[in-house]
């Protein structure tokens, strides 16, 4: 079984978000990037578990510049066999999906795994787009995956319960919580990561459809005002005069 896991870089969760160039660019300065947790904890680790059980290979693929090398090596340290980096700044979801789909067309894989979303832009789009471009099946928000020959059984969390689906390989999935437990890479893995192959593939020329106009931070939360339950007048006055909602 050949697994391809899509990984992207994301700012560490404690990052202070700021913008530059008149709020048109994300300020990368001093930002520590990590492997997007959904890609790492769920998609990659489940692919590794299945490889350990059934045999095969796990390749990670990333669309990004050289500044993604560190997160690629982290994925290799956790246990991926090799990596592919498509040498381009990711522009939007469709751009990324086209790059990956193009690579998959040229290199046979049985299963493409993505995280359910990347924790910076939260698009949740790339997986579905890859499946569309390849004309493969797609299971989103999968919380479990079992393989039996070319048949895969997946659970999806839906409102109020679970849905179990069966799908034939090859297909694409997006992984959500429950799929696997985060793995801490060990010393051996970290040292081996240096020597594992990382193929750098030139960008596949394609049109991009969106351009970011501007960013805006959410308004700062104001303090909470506590009104005593028997002081309804004050509550009404505040809602009317300050919050201006009634």
């Amino acid at each position: 079984m050949k697994f391809l896991v899509c990984i992207s870089k994301a700012p560490d969760t404690t990052t202070k978000i700021a913008f530059t160039d008149n709020n048109t660019k994300f300020n990368n300065d001093k930002v520590v990037f990590i492997v997007n947790p959904y890609d790492e904890w769920y998609a990659l680790v489940r692919a590794l578990e299945l490889k350990e059980k059934l045999g095969g290979t796990v390749t990670v693929i990333n669309v990004g510049a050289t500044d993604c090398d560190a997160i690629i090596r982290k994925a290799l340290a956790i246990g991926a066999d090799d990596a592919v980096r498509i040498d381009a700044e990711p522009i939007d979801a469709m751009f990324v999906a086209k790059q990956i789909a193009q690579y998959v067309k040229a290199n046979a894989y049985d299963l493409v795994l993505c995280g359910k979303e990347t924790i910076d832009y939260n698009g949740s789009e790339v997986g579905g787009m890859i499946a569309g471009l390849l004309d493969w099946g797609y299971v989103s928000l999968a919380s479990s995956l079992e393989l039996n020959g070319d048949l895969a059984t997946l659970n999806r969390e839906i409102a109020g319960g679970y849905e179990t689906v069966v799908v034939k390989t090859p297909f694409v999935l997006s992984a959500a919580k429950g799929m696997a437990e985060a793995r801490i890479p060990n010393m051996r893995g970290i040292m081996a990561a240096r020597t594992k192959p990382v193929a750098v593939v030139p960008v596949f020329a394609c049109e991009n459809y969106t351009t970011i106009l501007s960013y805006e931070l959410p308004k700062e939360k104001t303090g909470v005002k506590l009104v005593s339950p028997d002081n309804v007048d004050e509550l009404v006055s505040l809602l009317h005069n300050e919050a201006k909602v009634i």
């Binding site: 404690t14 202070k16 560190a70 090596r73 982290k74 340290a77 985060a182 801490i184 890479p185 060990n186 010393m187 051996r188 970290i190 040292m191 990561a193 240096r194």
Partner: protein
Amino acid sequence: MADKIIKQALKGGEFLIRESSSADTFIPEEFNEEQKMMAQMAEDFIDSEVLPVNEQIDHQEEGLMIKLMNKAGELGLLGATIPEEYGGFGKDFITGTLLTEKIGAGGSFAVACAAHTGIGTLPILYFGNEEQRKKYIPKLSTGEMKAAYCLTEPGSGSDALAAKTNAKLSADGKYYLLNGQKMWITNGGFADVFIVFAKIDGEKFTGFIVEANSEGLTRGEEEKKMGIKGSSTRQIFFQDVKVPVENLLGEIGKGHLIAFNILNIGRLKLCAAAMGATKRMATISVEYATQREQFKHKISDFGAIKYKLAEQAIKIFTVESAMYRASKQIEEKAHDLIGSGLEYPKALMGAAEEFAIECAILKVYGSEMLDYVVDEAVQIHGGLGFSEEYTPARAYRDSRINRIFEGTNEINRLLTVDMLLKRAMKGQLDLMTPAMSIQKELMSIPDFSSEDEAPYATQRKQISNMKKGILMVAGAAVQKLMMALEGEQELLMNIANMISESYLCESLLLRVMKMNEIGIASAEHNDILNVNFHDAADRFHFEGRNALSSFAEGDELRMMLLGLKRFSKTEIINTKDCRRRIAARLIDANKYCF
């Protein structure tokens, strides 16, 4: 000629009489990607596996510590710096310091881990023969076996060589019969292997490897301790324990070499572990200060709190500069010794012995840094700091032991001076020539030459002056008191503190200079540098004054006090504004960020 001297690496203790360049130091900002990944791994392990069960660890939940140690072993954390031929990962000493720092945030677990990887494992690695290494080290580096170090006895703590545990060779010459009692044995409750020091025939102090399942070896009850409650600490009793002769460690009568040399590395590692714990508490302090509101303000808005946050950072950044500087010096010295034919374990031990003075300073200042930071963490938390429901209370209790074990801070201060003077007497360090030239300088007109405008010239001058001050005070004390100096412990403490202040200041300066050279020094890094230099000058002067007045009088005292004043000179800066800027960076990052 001058160039040639500069290129030669500094010897241990030589920082006192020679200048160092920023190129010679290692700064944490230089860690490579692999080192950072390993550090992150250790941090993730502590955060996800250890800290969430800290309460259970403190209650010594059955099997929990062993399980966590095994997990650390699986990750490779117990064998990181063990040579690959003995089942480890062969990482360098600096990486070892970094990993110890990261694990250090793990409270009682960190203590168990440090005792196992340091004083438990290293005696066999450094002093064991090939059979002993092959038998034990691979299992110790994976955690399959856990180790403990038995030196202290009820009647011999700091005076370790007064041990009473006795070893007697059996009539058939096949084993030693061990009898005695050891106490405060970390990992005592579960260790599989004990490094035990005993006197053969009541005389020859010698090391032994004793397996826990030996008949006659029994473990006492768990000690009830003020802190690190999760760390197993017991007495170990030996009653006619048969130790095969092949388990004798090193040479007969040379146990002190093992006992004391292991402690050199142990002291630097203690500083590293304290560093990890300290940074965690500094972060917890900032996090709390930025969310707690009083008088309609976050308490981090208040100057009194900003002062504490900044001071925590200044201490951390300063000690860290010295810790990684010394780690690199030890690593380089080890490589030199390998070049001259020593195998790695022996080379590393030799290197740590060379830098024993620096290791002692780091032990003292690392543990006192931690004590300061946890104390202020409690204070910043106010009433909640006193509650066991919150992190600072445990950290406060856990911190206290660090000033006691691995040689009390008093012993380490005495050693700092003692080792320097011994090296001077053996001709390894020429303290006399510079001390004499300072005496001449005292008689001459003070240097009013115009200020050097090179970067950091004032700080360089201050360090050079501090070193002169130390040589003046120590030189005069030696001349005056001679052999009686040994009995003047208060004076020796003063001198040790002066030496340490100059070593820490210089290490801090070298780091900031190097950061400046590669373009990563911020205004706040320079603030840290400037505040520490400003305050260190006063501390230095205070120690020097107490030292001088304890043995000199009249004109001689007056002249030396004037000299001391000259040698304690510093630039007066607005430390309040500096601290506020440092605090602002911490508050903005909402964590320790330097």
